[in-house]
């Protein structure tokens, strides 16, 4: 069964059609990819799925529920989390705080209970901290938990962004170029990490990657965008040998 599905989503900005008639399906516990040259509309597709933009036309379904036009924070609450192409951490805050913030949406309390420290709030806060520490342990960031997030090395920042998304307790994870700026060895480690969290957290993952080789190893299905148009979809093998894909890529790189 498809946990996430889009039907003919089109996103226009004024005269530009950034995404046109994009239809995709993500099966539960699968990892699928979205590739295409720069400016192809990949990030825009993510922004539409996560509610940042309301599509000009088309629909998005999550577990059969139509989620088109729902606000981003509510989409996250439903169970779709994301990372950003240009890392967007809470820079001045510590690694632990970054993860704690991602727990906030599951808090069942109110500011005044928090201020007067009601037992109910204190219990939940304690639970949040324990959960966050366990998660940081899991992703190997526990040693830097008190560092300000902007001071981390690049690779750690990428990992923290994924950890922060995991802290929202998602069922679907959208990763926007997680391997950007990494060397082949780092990318390979990252892909292993992504498979590991998929299994550990029972996730279904939709991943944008600019570099074809990187996604080939982990994705079972790949969609290829070029100028907003889906020029191909299929298994890595099919994609690799698709003349239109080769043309789009060779034309650019």
């Amino acid at each position: 069964m498809a946990i996430l599905k889009t039907e003919n989503i089109t996103m226009k900005f004024g005269g530009i059609t950034a995404v046109s008639d994009f239809t995709m399906e993500l099966e539960k516990n699968k990892i699928i990819g979205l590739i295409g040259p720069n400016g192809a509309g990949k990030t825009t597709a993510f922004n539409v799925i996560t509610g940042v933009y309301k599509p000009t036309s088309g629909h998005i379904f999550y577990n059969k529920e139509n989620i088109t036009g729902i606000k981003p924070h509510n989409i996250t609450k439903l169970g779709i989390a994301r990372t950003f192409q240009n890392i967007r951490l809470f820079k001045e805050l510590s690694v632990l705080e970054n993860v704690l913030i991602a727990n906030h949406l599951r808090l069942k309390s109110n500011p005044f209970s928090a201020v007067v420290n009601t037992p109910n709030y204190v219990r939940q806060e304690k639970h949040m901290i324990e959960k966050s520490l366990a998660l940081l342990e899991e992703v190997d960031l526990i040693d830097v938990k008190d560092e300000k997030s902007f001071s981390l090395p690049y690779g750690y920042q990428r990992r923290l962004e994924i950890a922060r998304a995991l802290a929202t307790e998602p069922k679907v994870l959208l990763l926007d170029e997680p391997a950007a700026g990494m060397n082949p060895q780092e990318s390979n480690q990252l892909m292993e990490f992504i498979i590991k969290i998929r299994d550990k957290f029972d996730l279904s993952i939709f991943m944008i990657e600019h570099h074809m080789q990187v996604v080939m190893g982990v994705c079972e299905k790949i969609y290829v965008l070029d100028h907003g148009i889906t020029i191909a979809q299929g298994t890595p093998h099919e994609i690799q040998n698709n003349p239109r894909v080769i043309e789009a890529y060779l034309g650019v790189e």
Binding site: T50, H73, F84, L89, A102, H104, L105
Partner: protein, 348 residues
């Protein structure tokens, strides 16, 4: 550790109020007035810091909310006879004429009405960002003044109100300040405070983490309005006289100065700077008058004080943007783990 912190905090509060008691008895009336002003400005700085420093929303409406608070509390506490004689151009509306209550309920109602208006204004205004938000809140603050000037039968218009009960002693001023400091510290370190800081750091990321931007901003704005209203009421009962001119933009500007000097996003900074700037502002009053150097007299220019402060603000923004504290806070952990205490422990 937690228990230890609470005990240390309690001791610090008791010591602080003992100090206030001593200062209050040795200071002359001019000096205690400054002491009272300090407490009020701490409250106001925290109010502005909550929305600007912690939530990252550039709001400049403080003076407007102060006006609402000051007028509310003044009208609620002035004796009916005094109101009858004060409103001589147009009598006060009957439903307000006979109200007279004590300071605490008046102060709370002042805060609540200010918060209510903040809540109503927030809905349209908080959809704006950055400079636009600043302009809109500033405009709102001016509108409040115009409304107050024209509501003759409620506010006594441009005549203002004179002879407000002189309630704001050192205990009221600093009592409220301490409550606000504790409230802010607890709020900011809670999950809700973290949500506000997340919005300040990156709205798009905060929203992607499931944080409802509008609701959280609305909350911060409303609480900030409440505190500004209470601060305004305290100020009114310290001055004894209020009129619409008192709540011009320069008042917000003074508070902004305190927040920037202390550190945008630091409670500790607002408290330290609230005291320093208030004292300095009073000390600098001499430059507004003639200065006699013995051999010559420098002619005073009224308003010179504000020129000096404007230059100071510019220098800080250009060279010391992080202010005294940056976004750092005082904490017991930091004190206990400092070298001083470590050494002692090793000896023991």
């Amino acid at each position: 550790m937690k228990k230890k912190k609470i005990i240390l905090s309690l001791i610090a509060i008791i010591l602080f109020f003992s100090l206030l008691f001593i200062l209050n008895s040795v200071f002359n009336s001019h000096q205690t007035r400054i002491l009272r002003l300090c407490g009020i400005y701490v409250v106001l700085a925290l109010s502005l810091n909550l929305i600007n420093g912690f939530t990252g929303q550039f709001s400049l409406g403080t003076a407007g909310f102060m006006a609402i608070g000051a007028y509310t509390s003044a009208i609620l506490t002035m004796p009916p006879a005094q109101k009858a004689s004060a409103y001589y151009l147009e009598p006060i509306v009957p439903w307000l004429a006979d109200i007279e209550m004590s300071f605490l309920p008046a102060l709370i109602i002042a805060g609540l009405i200010s918060a209510l208006i903040g809540f109503i204004v927030a809905a349209p205004v908080l959809r704006l960002r950055d400079d636009y938000l600043a302009i809109a809140t500033l405009g709102f603050s001016e509108i409040i003044r115009v409304v107050i000037t024209n509501l003759q039968n409620i506010t006594n218009g441009s005549l203002g109100l004179k002879g407000l009960p002189n309630y704001t002693n050192v205990w009221w001023s600093w009592g409220v300040a301490v409550v606000c400091i504790i409230f802010m510290a607890l709020l900011i370190n809670s999950s809700y405070g973290r949500a506000l800081k997340a919005i300040r750091e990156d709205e798009i990321a905060a929203e992607a983490m499931g944080i409802n931007l509008f609701r959280n901003k609305l909350f911060a704005f409303t609480v900030s309005s409440f505190m500004a209203g209470v601060g305004g009421a305290l100020l009114g009962h310290l001055m004894g006289t209020i009129d619409p001119l008192m709540f011009r933009f320069t008042l917000t500007y003074n508070i902004l100065l305190i927040v920037v000097v202390g550190g945008i996003g630091s409670i500790t900074g607002s408290v330290i700077s609230g005291v320093i700037v208030t004292v300095a502002m009073e000390a600098l009053r001499i430059v507004d008058g003639n200065i006699d150097l013995g051999f010559m007299v420098i002619k005073g220019i009224p308003g010179m004080r504000m020129v000096i402060f404007s230059i100071l603000l510019m220098v800080i923004i250009l060279f010391f943007r992080r202010g005294i504290m940056g976004t750092n806070e005082f904490s017991w952990k930091w004190i206990l783990e400092s070298k001083l205490f470590k050494k002692r422990k090793e000896v023991a």
